[in-house]
Symmetry: C2
């Protein structure tokens, strides 16, 4: 059984994050340090509750994030990135570089994005290592 439209690398990637929200959720966890559902709901783009629920479940199923009960608040889930997600750092860097060149990015507000867009390989490697420590046990 194979439900992929093709085995092209671009297609397989957009089958996972080719929508208006998935990369923003990963961005929030990766660069904003958001680990809880409620925090992700409060992002500027105003994701709807049902869409956030859907996308988190999909990202978990695709091996991009994991969740576990928060030891400090038993009612809450805490979300973590997997190594598969952390390997998306260079994708965010290349998207950031392109957006800053071609789109009306607010570079003062999104300082992190500007840094990443100018990032050299060493900085990307450092960020990935930091994320691995925070997210992957």
């Amino acid at each position: 059984m194979d439900n992929h439209r093709s085995h092209c690398p671009v297609n397989l990637a957009v089958e996972i994050f080719g929508d208006k929200w998935s990369l923003l959720i990963i961005r929030d966890i990766m660069f904003e340090g958001k680990r809880h559902f409620r925090e992700m709901l409060q992002s500027e783009e105003k994701i709807a509750t049902n869409i956030l629920t859907d996308r988190l479940a999909m990202l978990e199923q695709m091996g991009i994030i994991t969740k576990r009960p928060d030891p400090e608040h038993k009612q809450k889930q805490i979300y973590s990135l997997t190594e598969k997600a952390i390997d998306l750092v260079p994708v965010f860097a290349s998207i950031g570089e392109w957006s800053i060149k071609h789109l009306p990015v607010d570079t003062e507000k999104y300082v992190h994005a500007s840094q990443l867009a100018r990032a050299n390989k060493r900085f990307i490697a450092h960020l990935k290592k930091t994320l691995m420590k925070e997210h992957v046990i």
Copy 2:
């Protein structure tokens, strides 16, 4: 007037190509040399006619592609990439690298993708230059 959900670089990018088809259309023009509507319809992922029409119009409006009548077949339109599109080469390279590591890519069929995923900066620069000559007058 500003209809953007935010001015985050990731958001502004997914507002353009955050869907299941746009990056595949750009891929077809960029890597498969497809320049006509009919050729794009025949791609493996089987895009529907109305979706292809929609996405091409959106990509034209966003300054990613241009179209003009084909001098050899007056009925046909010929599509070209803009510099804004050609600057997406590093985004395709980083997506390709990620997909090959984490998803069931057919690397024999998509040789070009594997090359790009391993590409060094010199190769990316060369590809961009070639595309500029072919597409941007």
